[in-house]
Symmetry: C2
Subunit: 517 residues, 2 copies
């Protein structure tokens, strides 16, 4: 929202600032370069200990690949295989993962919106996969394609979001078997930022690749990451056919996948933070290694979905101290292997956008910044443990990401001498509001959140006692009113539509419309 | 609430756990030893640059001490003085501050609740100074002495709070001139944790010192810090008579004060993060140095109240990226000088306990943990920029502190080998809930917040759609029902009451009852 770099780069006159206020500044912030010293809670010997425990698991416990093609691939790659069980020698794992690029550039439809990933370079990506939304009236209901389009538009307009993702919400008004086509088209059409690719089946993943080839050119794909697939593991230590098939579709076209063990700490891992990380690490390594069996040198991302589980209800929790600690540790492991890594960001377990959601989301956001995550997924909208995407929360989370972005840039020293020269100008007991340095610099010096109300209670009451949910929904409506669709080459648009029409004729829709969840 | 150390130290049987659940576990967590690598955003040369700029300010711009005694003290100490303006040579400043202890132990009425401060040792202290409260029915109104007692009881019961502070809320049903006596007594009586001492005037501070002498013994005070006074500066670069007089009362009795510049970034400092830190640092140093003029070797704490200002309304903001950055930097400066430091914690600017309050509070809490703050003040209840203390937020914030405490302890490696041994036991595709290691360890392995609801929406709806405010208020009522007053030696109690009665006869109450704010 308050995209300070834009304001900084323009002249400081009052009329300019008034003009800027008139239209929302939706220019995307460049990909983040995290300048913070990272929170590394393990000594080198502890990193080695996790590594050794993970390698022991891979060698001796083994990983189940429930997929005949993967089993055959592993045999050819020299792993010990017994039925679906694959035992990976640590030498083989290390040999394989060393060809994963430590960083790469994502290419967006608008090349100005390309972003780097890996090392200190990071991106914020909205949440995905919600079977419900809380809409512009904060009503919880099943989402439709129009709702998905709305979220893609908002993703396009929020400066700190670097991607329009894919199925932010699950569109119920279209058959499941064909949904991936419409979802991909909506991501591509409503934003020119990068986007994610559906991995709901190997064939669906192929469709996504074909659509990317239409948008960017088949040859371009060969050398340029343009999208991201997510492949969840079934912890403990299982990868299934759907995910592995989708992984192959992406890797063969040289497109990166997130290798994401799905960890509910204490339920599908041991009741220990370091042991959970060791198991998760083994799982991630097994998939990362497999990406290189599929295609040596293909980009791949160390992933995870990570929660701890309430022993009262079995439900995943958010914002707990162990999630923060595990993020710090996983960051260290990924850097140890020299692979970019993904985490989950502003997760909330609250049913409404109440203070619980705020605490959970801010705690997670802060931790993933200090952990030095690269692909910062689920960065806007997630509440109710991912069961719904909230429009209000989406807007606030995205602004929080802009604030975290600012923090991660570190202190700005450029005008230190001029700023400090104001101190003798003002002297003891004065105030700085009228000083020329203040007038020139306050907007870039101090972030002013749009969605937080800092007025007095009297003023707040006079304005109708509006809490943050309502303020954010008002902002969302305003933004959608200002939305301008980025131009898409009409020939590519037509080719995409033709592709979808053809595939929808080929894919049986059946009557599965209402069987989605 | 979920004070895991207690659970860990007992046997792991189910009946034991059931019994533990029956009564709230209110045992105080030991003083925190922060094991996180700290977020140090400045290189050594930048620390030197801030130091040099601050010393230039002290030498050339000067600090105004609006207090004849302080001016005389400074003359005797060798400073250049011109009217109320004091110019401090950097050599003098360095010489003076080097006698401030880098850490010390606070002594509580219950010696089991003594806590260390300085270096890696930190404490959580509730908010203070609210002219309003949101009460057990979430109604915003003026507080009374009974409300203050309620907050002192809750402070006593929340495991992560290490202090009962002082005027958490401002009791309106007692004359201002005598209030400090009743406030101090309430802190002392309702909790046996350490507490803060009022600094509303030099004479009031003397009364607090006298009451501490009654409680602990005059001689004991000489060698043992038992309370904390706060002395706010008037930024830029002014200290007033009230604060300096109170500072003298504390320092003479060897009791620590917080030397707290009151910074509204951009309004009473330059519009620059590093320049704001340089000015704040100069201000803090001038007061820290003065504590050593008063009494060489007296404990003192590098303080600050720190906000950035909304240029729309002039109001202080909370949870902004610059507040986080300045906390990181101030932590570095305080460690550079080898002095313990104070920060402000879960500040909220929201008018209600909504998601804004959650984001703001969690962002600040996370930042002060990564900054390595020692005296972590305003750790529970603060909302509406400090205008009210919310009972609901008090309970949730205190639990958040317990969660941050757990994070700051770092990963626990003690049972790593046993935990990792569970992985082959369970194998691919299994679950860990029934494993003996899980049964034994889940409570200590993963924090389970009491105040967060992680149930399904169906269960949540069946239970009445209770949001966090209502849950927290219910918890507060429950805790207050279980409250047990810690025994106070009847002779000391009588002596304290006699002292108050005598002073209330001596101090004119006038009719200032309703003129308090």
């Amino acid at each position: 929202m308050t995209a300070q770099p834009a304001i900084r780069s323009r002249s400081g006159g009052r009329s300019t600032r008034r003009a800027l206020r008139a239209a929302p500044d939706c220019r995307m912030l460049p990909g983040l370069t995290n300048a913070l010293p990272l929170c590394e809670v393990m000594e080198d010997s502890q990193v080695e200990r996790i590594d050794a425990a993970s390698m022991d698991i891979l060698e001796n416990v083994g990983v189940q690949f429930r997929d005949p093609i993967a089993v055959q691939d592993w045999k050819r790659a020299g792993a010990k295989v017994d039925g679906e069980m694959v035992y990976l020698d640590r030498g083989l794992v290390r040999e394989l993962i060393k060809t994963i690029p430590s960083d790469f550039t994502y290419h967006a439809r608008d090349p100005q919106k390309n972003v780097r990933l890996g090392g200190r370079n990071a991106v914020f990506v909205p949440m995905t996969g919600a079977p419900f939304l809380r809409d512009l009236d904060d009503v919880r209901r099943n989402p439709m394609l129009d709702d998905l389009a709305m979220f893609h538009k908002l993703s396009h307009m929020m400066p700190a979001l670097h991607s329009s993702a894919h199925h932010i919400v699950e569109p119920y008004d279209h058959p499941i078997s064909q949904r991936h086509l419409r979802i991909t088209y909506s991501s591509m059409k409503h934003s020119d930022k990068m986007f994610m690719g559906m991995t709901t089946s190997p064939k669906n993943a192929e469709d996504v690749m074909d659509m990317c080839a239409i948008l960017f050119g088949e040859d371009f794909l060969e050398d340029h990451p343009v999208t991201t697939g997510n492949c969840n593991g079934n912890s403990p230590l299982v990868w299934d056919e759907t995910m592995l098939g989708a992984m192959r579709a992406f890797c063969r076209r040289n497109q990166p996948v997130l290798c994401s063990p799905f960890v509910l700490g204490g339920a599908n891992t041991p009741a220990s933070v370091p042991a959970t990380v060791a198991q998760l690490n083994a799982e991630a390594l097994s998939a990362l290694a497999y990406t290189q069996v599929i295609r040596k040198g293909a980009p791949a991302i160390y992933g995870h979905y990570l929660s701890t589980v309430s022993m009262k209800s079995g439900a995943p929790m958010a914002g707990t101290p162990e999630i923060s600690l595990m993020n710090f540790m996983i960051g260290q492991m990924a850097r140890h292997y020299g692979v970019p890594w993904r985490t989950s960001n502003t997760l909330g377990g609250a049913k409404t956008f109440d203070a619980q959601a705020g605490y959970e989301s801010a705690t997670t956001l802060s931790s993933v910044m200090h952990a030095g995550a690269n692909y910062i997924w689920h960065s806007a909208g997630w509440n109710e443990a991912g069961m719904h995407c909230s429009v209000a929360k989406f807007i606030v989370d995205a602004e929080q990401c802009a604030m975290a972005y600012r923090m991660a840039e570190g202190p700005k020293w450029g005008d230190f001498d001029q700023a400090i020269a104001a101190v003798p100008d003002i002297g003891p007991g004065g105030h700085y509001l009228g000083h020329p340095h203040t007038q020139e610099n306050f907007q870039s010096a101090f972030f002013m959140p749009e969605l937080f109300d800092n007025n007095s209670i009297e003023q707040w009451a006079a304005e109708g006692k509006v809490e943050i949910t309502e303020r954010a929904l008002k902002r969302a409506r305003y933004l959608l009113g200002e939305y301008q669709e980025p131009t898409l080459d009409p020939a590519k648009d037509e080719a995409l539509r033709d592709y979808i029409a053809r595939r929808e004729r080929e894919i049986p829709a059946a009557d599965e419309l209402n069987q989605s969840f």
